[in-house]
């Protein structure tokens, strides 16, 4: 199946790349002096030329500091970097994760089910998950006392937390067609600050714990799991076997480790090495999402992502959303030297979207070694942060409007807010939605045009002036549904891949994270008994000493 083993990955054309880069540098020399207000004034068709829609998403790039010629040149660079070959490599299951010798086939998780009788582990695990979801939603998943489960706690961190949390919150309005969904809780932090107050509130007889960990060795998750297990076994001391059987589900790529921990075989959900953690919400890691929106909703989420996969593979680059988004990010970072990006959803339901994107992009592309093992001499991923837009307006927008740093912004909103129920009662809510969208459009306009978005005359004092020219992309979903969210997430995933190809880095490993986990283990001994502190630097040694002193 593997047409691209890691030693046969696509090459790039170094000469063509140098030329394309040079052309972009010269172009950028002019573009640095452009102001968005002038660009709009000079081209009434600018929106038509620089916007695009696919899979229920409209992307407006016309508030970026570029023109159609810029995009041509960027596509030239992508060609030189072998983007088309890399895309084939990704979708043919090549070892695009070359440092770990693995494929990255998250797209495979959202392909339509293979026919019955054909081997299809993805379909089989989804069916297994569906049985569990049905049992929980119908009130027939029983605790060890025979009570119906009312609360589900997802324990996971990173990809096993951020994706399910983001999507479950975003889609909370979409109820399952049948059954009653349990209350969902997410526990990720290793310090116990989330789990302790939660366990105080929950009834052990009606609580189900979902342990989500690809490796099933993540200390953050396993420490929370141990606490939950202790809590349950204390509550039902005479039902030890039934506690594990009735109250724990495991989701992992490592079934042996799940069994070792005590997860009953019937309660194990699998995914695979070829699914990266931060790309895993489409797999059985998405169990909390399926519990929120039902299996039908979950399949819509997959369908939206699958449609975007097809768009990415099939659409010409001129009309290819992930390709263009990726190229524009490269333009801003490497040619306009804009090293920060703000992610600004204008929709409270997307409140976890910034955190999700921070992980997806910075853990994927926060790298500096290329395919040849060389250190790169250009920037890769920008610094990304974000917040729900209307709230951020009262926090860091001041810096965007009048600070000294250029920041590329990303506005995300739903064009309409579909609601069920009594429209008369919800009229004020409709108005709130309109108010929010008005703020979204007004802010991107002011950031782009500066003073020229205003009508006031010329004698305004300097401290009241708006420089403008902050570039932004606006992404409008027709509506926030499982389908649209699936497409949106897949768009970002593929955009990240496009960028990685242009930067020549591997977006699917995270060696920087692995080392941190390891070194923390040694530090436990230092804190417990001072063992090994001699080898530490003066700062760490002193801090550890202070902590030990305070604890005694």
């Amino acid at each position: 199946m593997n047409a691209f083993p890691s030693h046969q990955l696509p090459l790039h054309d170094a000469d063509a790349e140098r030329d394309a880069d040079q052309a972009l540098r010269e172009h950028a020399g002019q573009a640095r002096h452009w102001h968005l207000a002038d660009l709009f004034a000079g081209d009434p068709e600018r929106f038509q030329r620089l916007s695009l829609s696919a899979c229920g998403l409209l992307a407006d790039f016309s508030k970026q500091r570029l023109d159609p010629a810029t995009l041509d040149k960027l596509r030239g660079l992508a060609t030189a970097r072998g983007l088309d070959a890399w895309m084939r490599c990704l979708f043919e299951g090549g070892e695009v994760n070359w440092t770990e010798g693995r494929a990255a086939m998250h797209w495979r998780l959202r392909e339509p089910d293979r026919a019955e009788g054909e081997d299809d582990p993805v379909r089989d695990q989804l069916a297994r998950m569906e049985r569990m979801v049905t049992r929980i939603l119908s009130g027939q998943w029983r605790g060890c006392e025979g009570d119906a489960i009312t609360d589900v706690v997802n324990m996971g961190v990173g990809g096993s937390d951020l994706g399910p949390l983001m999507a479950s919150v975003a889609l909370h309005e979409h109820r399952p067609d049948r059954g009653k969904r349990p209350r969902l809780h997410f526990v990720s932090s290793m310090d116990g600050s989330q789990i302790a107050p939660l366990l105080d509130e929950l009834n052990p007889a009606t609580t189900l714990i979902v342990l989500s960990s690809k490796s099933f060795t993540t200390v953050d998750t396993l420490s929370n799991a141990a606490t939950a297990r202790y809590w349950l076994e204390q509550a039902f001391p005479d039902r030890n076997g039934a506690v594990l059987r009735c109250h724990f589900i495991g989701v992992s790529a490592m079934p042996e480790r799940m069994s070792e921990w005590g997860i009953h075989e019937d309660n194990q959900l699998l995914f695979w090495e070829w699914v990266g953690g931060r790309y895993s919400l489409w797999s059985t890691i998405g169990l909390p999402i399926a519990l929120t929106i039902g299996m039908d909703g979950f399949r819509e989420l997959l369908a939206g992502a699958h449609d975007l996969d097809r768009h990415f593979r099939e659409a010409p680059w001129e009309a290819n959303l992930p390709v263009l988004m990726g190229l524009i990010d490269v333009w801003n970072l490497n040619y306009l030297d804009i090293t920060a990006r703000a992610v600004l959803p204008y929709d409270g339901r997307l409140k976890h979207w910034p955190a999700y994107v921070e992980q997806l992009e910075m853990e994927s592309n926060g790298k500096s070694v290329d395919r040849d093992g060389e250190l790169v001499d250009y920037h890769t991923c920008p610094v990304i942060w974000g917040e729900v837009g209307p709230n951020a307006q009262h926090a860091f927008y001041q810096l965007l409007h009048q600070g000294t740093q250029p920041v590329a912004c990303e506005f995300i909103a739903a064009a309409r807010h579909g609601r069920n129920g009594n429209s008369a009662e919800l009229q004020p809510l409709e108005e709130q939605h309109t108010l929010t969208l008005a703020n979204c459009l007004a802010q991107s306009r002011l950031l782009a045009l500066g003073d020229r978005a205003l009508e006031e005359g010329g004698d305004t004092p300097a401290y009241k002036r708006y420089r403008g020219n902050q570039p932004s992309t606006t992404l409008l979903m027709d509506e926030l549904t499982p389908y649209h969210l699936g497409a949106l997430v897949a768009l970002y995933e593929h955009k990240v891949f496009v960028q990685a190809v242009l930067w020549g880095i591997n977006p699917f490993d995270q060696w920087g994270v692995e080392m941190g986990k390891k070194i923390a283990k040694d530090m436990i001994r230092v804190l417990e008994n001072g063992e090994g502190s001699d080898g530490l630097d003066a700062s760490t040694r002193a801090l550890a000493g202070y902590v030990r002193q305070q604890q005694t």
Binding site: R142, G146, R245
Partner: protein, 434 residues
């Protein structure tokens, strides 16, 4: 007097038969269904003492005319009805049948009926809505409410020798006529309480709510009894002997159900919520009851420590109460669903309710139904006593034990003596007994 009765509820049957017995000539219009079909076959579906005999006798005497045709009222164009209404028209329809009640009221009004009696259990205010509807159409027929307060199990005597009678009526003439009709049942002393129609309807559901509250209260006490290691039945007798409380509706068990009583409580809860009064107490009452319907399942689950896949379970009784063929809202349904979901093979015996149960189970799952209770128990890992039919009170313990794979009794109505059953070699769990 000539009287038209509509509906196939127990209330319709009891009222029609009792009126006929008192000399009235009653036309009883039955909608198609099980009650009508049974009457066609010369049977009486409702198992109430004396009722079948009375219905048969009155039909034979010619005073009770059971009809399954329509009096021609379904015509919206004002065509003359096939039959003109009798002077008195009674509605004892199924809950939720308000639309039909409206059409029947129109017909009665157009035909100049002297009185329309609503006995159907509808939301509070429905009788007054019917009255307003007739008034709007210019009909002079007064509408009164005679709430169905029959006690199931003694329905006929509770109608003919009532302890109290509620009448919702705000029309002097109508009250005179009602008193005349009810005279045979109101002799020893006047037990008729006349109030506004909505007050009568409210009183009726408030009674149901109070009774349900007593049951759920006792079920909560049963949980405590298990914890304390005492028998809830001892507590029940003690509590019930206090005259401020009385003995009725204090039995702990595996939950109430049925088409009437539990429907009343749900309706009242809905009304409270809609009126934004809040229904905290009744919501708890219903929630406890729902929990209670699964109590036998939970005991079974705990006994086998959650390993119940492919086990076999026998239900004795599916009807929501003895004497009925109805299974609506009853604990049997919740139990069966819970057992199915765990892959348990379910076998059921019930003397009357199996056809209803089979109709409910169609398209849902597989049940094996048995005519013989011991056949039903064959190779079973647990016997759940759900309905306290008289025939279940004294089983042949040796035969039962020989039939079952595991001698485990889950007694949802506390009809067995735990010590005795245990001595017969069974493991026994009741409700509120350790």
């Amino acid at each position: 007097m000539r009287i038209d009765m509509f509906g196939d509820t127990l209330c319709a049957m009891v009222t029609a038969a009792a009126f006929a017995q008192s000399g009235h000539r009653v036309r009883w219009w039955l909608p198609p269904g099980r009650v009508a079909r049974a009457l066609d076959d010369g049977r009486v579906l409702y198992q109430e003492p004396g009722l079948a005999e009375l219905v048969t006798a009155q039909r034979r005497a010619g005073r009770l005319d059971c009809r399954t045709d329509e009096p021609g009222l379904a015509d919206p164009n004002g065509e003359p009805a096939v039959s003109e209404p009798a002077p008195v028209v009674c509605l004892a329809l199924q809950p939720g049948d308000q639309d039909r009640a409206g059409h029947l009221a129109d017909w009665a009004g157009r035909g100049g009926a002297r009185l329309l009696i609503n006995q159907s259990v509808f939301p509070v205010g429905s009788t007054e809505e019917l009255q307003a509807r007739l008034r709007e159409q210019g009909a002079a027929t007064p509408v009164v409410c005679l709430p169905d307060t029959l006690q199931e199990g003694m329905a006929l005597s509770s109608f003919t020798r009532p302890h109290h009678l509620l009448l919702g009526c705000d029309d002097r003439e109508a009250e005179v006529l009602m008193r005349e009709i009810l005279r045979p049942y109101n002799r020893r002393r006047d037990v008729l309480q006349v109030m506004q129609p909505r007050e009568a309807e409210f009183t009726k559901v408030a009674i149901s709510g109070m009774l349900a509250t007593r049951l759920s209260y006792m079920n909560d006490m049963a949980l405590l009894a298990e914890e304390l290691g005492v028998d809830i039945d001892v507590i029940r007798q003690g509590v019930g002997s206090d005259p401020r409380i009385g003995e009725a509706y204090l039995y702990a068990g595996c939950g109430f159900g049925g088409p009437g009583f539990s429907r009343d409580v749900m309706n009242l809860t809905d009304t409270l919520r809609r009126r934004r009064v809040g229904a905290e107490l009744l919501e708890q009452v219903l929630q406890i009851n729902e929990r209670q319907k699964e109590v036998l399942f939970r005991k079974f689950w705990r006994h086998y420590e959650g390993e119940v896949d492919r086990r076999r379970v026998t239900l004795w009784g599916a009807a929501f109460k003895p004497g009925s063929d109805r299974v609506d809202n009853g604990p049997a349904l919740r139990l069966i669903e819970a057992l199915w979901a765990q892959g348990v093979d379910v076998h059921v015996h019930d003397p009357l309710a199996l056809p209803e149960l089979a109709a409910w189970a169609r398209d849902k799952g597989t049940l094996t139904l048995h005519d013989d209770p011991y056949d039903a128990a064959r190779d079973s890992d647990a016997m759940m006593l759900v309905t306290e039919w008289k025939a279940y009170w004294g089983p042949d313990w040796d035969d039962l034990k020989a039939a079952m794979r595991t001698p485990l009794i889950l007694d949802g109505r506390n009809i067995y003596d735990p010590a005795y059953v245990t001595r017969q070699g069974f493991t026994y769990y009741g409700i509120g007994r350790s």
